[in-house]
Point group: C2
Chain length 389, copies 2
């Protein structure tokens, strides 16, 4: 919810949503999960930006990616150094314009930023779930997000938007609740992981699971954190988020000390970058959540139940799609987005596709790339129903 | 040395070099290394296939890649299940034809298969070198290989051949000892690692170094092995050796149990493959050697001392080159080979270039791909001096 007293924020752009406060929605109706288990009750933490109009037809849902959360835009405090993870795209006058839209962003189930997840107390045992938290799928997430939608008094999303794993949730929304959204914006995603994608996830998981401080996931009870494993997982992730070109442009073969040291300390700048990304991640993310997120990625495959025919899987879709990919993204390359586009066209759906020139790799979806933001803004400008209360 | 009594090997092809016996060459003259240290003495283990002719002009040197060794062809015992690592290309009637050529293959310094390395006893301390083994470079290796050449009574190689890190050694030979080789065959290599290549190596190194069983490299003294770290390094390596397409063709999204288990045991076939590759590697490779090999890769950059101009770096070259790349190799993509080709042409050298269609990724250089082997054989057929004794 946008805080109206922005007086202290003169250093911040008028395009910022300003100070935002996370809110919590508690659900006591059990949620049946794909894995066969169910959550007796759960909470979802979320933020909203902009104002829901009287017709309730200007709401947009943002779905987050692997390490994302509900804090997509604005600041939690005036002292915050960084805004939410997609502040570049969400705010007054920005592509996802909070002057027109009421934007909802939540932390997914299984997360570690406030929604019910491995760090939460299992109401049955009275202890933290830890590794006993059930494996959640993209479909489970969308089911829980649908309940949040109803709780917020929203019957219909003007658009559901997400990048990467968030884009998979958008795809799932369009088939799980075809009537509940007018527009689906899928950015830098794929209709399912490739064997190589799964392989990277598996190495990350093994790094965490084989860390002696993991203790079968009960590291909290042991007073430890599987720092090494989580660090390695994140380092590896970062290689797949950046393109080869982006790494070359950013680091090249630059030596940190100016000359070769012939040792195992940091030698090249790229090593320094990766170690920093890895070690800083450990302090802000939970290993059990990381494992759950990678599994949700692995399992996502809407075509699986439709004879491996994505066009058939998408037959129930009512939403209009915008699909966006980035030329240098090798985690989910443009070809993976074009698969989605072809399948939508083959099943007679409305879809626009933009392939954005960028050397930022997969990370491009979080970067302010003018053409990308113009495409997003241009598409959203055409959406009916957008407009302040 | 080819064993002439092949009677017991009727199950094996007449194209095999048969049973081979590794030999050891000991060097007592100190070897000054790039890192500033020197090895007071060292041993190189090597194998030879075919016969050195009277003119001593039919010798070929094979340089191995990261996890390779001296055992490139044939079998050590009749009970061996697998032949040497490049048996597909080396043997009577094979592309590197042992009916014509005398082939020498060695384990590099710092290795763990018999040549002096971290597992060897430091003559000064009387204890295994372990992590105190000096960091060796591609140039150091070539210097040590040159001494082996002289020891074997060879003044000149008809060709020096290598794939991947082996190809880097070939490039180094052509500039360190330009008069010592007529032909240089560089396969699936690069003139230097990219930032992304270094990044993968760094994750592998961190996996090993942060393994609590690594003990700063003194795991042997502690009676441990950094199994987890070495396993993760190898799993990660395998992702970069196979192409996305090869993984798709080999594993797709096939489920090991036929259906989703919703757990952290092996779910997809590709996970099973990677875990097997990782765990089996631990039993046949040394972690300190793995670290050294990745550093040799990182540091290789012949253009560095020549104003970052590879053409200038290659000015002293006398050899004729054959450069081979594989279309689906993303570790060292064809463009990296074409950089070498352009630089050779720009400095007025003779070079042939073949880009081989393959979906095997980087591993293609070890695979029997008909066109690849025809190119190798066709090029070698033109080499003068080849011919049995």
């Amino acid at each position: 919810m946008t805080d109206s007293s922005k007086k202290g924020l003169d250093l911040r752009s008028s395009h910022s949503v300003g100070i935002v406060r996370p809110q919590v929605a508690a659900f006591n109706e059990p949620l049946a999960l794909d894995c066969g288990r169910s959550l007796p009750s759960y909470e979802l933490v979320y933020e909203t930006y902009g104002v829901l109009n009287a017709a309730c037809d200007n709401a947009i849902l943002i779905c987050h990616a692997l390490s994302g959360d509900h804090h997509a835009a604005g600041y939690h405090a005036e002292t915050d150094r960084k805004p939410g993870w997609w502040d570049s795209a969400i705010g007054p006058g920005k592509p996802i314009d909070t002057n027109r839209f009421f934007v909802v962003s939540l932390n997914n189930l299984g997360g570690c930023k406030g929604s019910t997840g491995p760090l939460s107390i299992d109401p049955i045992s009275g202890k933290p779930y830890g590794p006993d938290f059930p494996i959640v799928t993209v479909r489970d997430w969308v089911q829980s997000q649908h309940r949040l939608m109803l709780r917020l008094g929203i019957a219909h999303w003007a658009a559901v938007i997400g990048g990467s794993l968030g884009g998979m949730q958008v795809l799932q929304w369009s088939t799980s609740y075809p009537e509940a959204l007018s527009h689906a914006i899928v950015i830098a995603a794929a209709p399912k992981l490739s064997a190589q994608n799964i392989a990277f996830n598996e190495v990350a998981r093994q790094a965490i699971i084989t860390d002696p401080d993991f203790h079968g996931g009960r590291y909290a009870v042991q007073g430890t954190i599987p720092r090494r494993g989580l660090m390695l997982a994140r380092m590896l992730g970062h290689i797949t988020y950046l393109s080869d070109d982006a790494m070359r442009a950013k680091f090249g073969r630059e030596l940190r000390a100016g000359q070769i040291q012939y040792g195992f300390d940091v030698e090249f700048q790229v090593e320094s970058y990766l170690r920093h990304q890895g070690t800083s991640f450990v302090d802000r993310f939970d290993a059990n959540t990381y494992l759950l997120m990678t599994k949700a990625l692995d399992y996502f495959d809407p075509a699986h139940g439709a004879g491996d025919d994505l066009a058939v899987a998408l037959e129930s879709v009512k939403a209009s799609f915008l699909v966006i990919s980035f030329t240098s993204d090798w985690r989910f390359a443009p070809e993976r987005s074009r698969e989605i586009v072809r399948a939508l066209l083959a099943s007679g759906k409305r879809v626009s596709y933009a392939e954005i020139e960028s050397n930022h790799g997969h990370d491009a979806f979080l970067v302010t790339i003018p053409y990308y933001h113009r495409v997003l803004a241009g598409y959203l400008a055409l959406i009916n129903g957008g407009g302040a209360a």
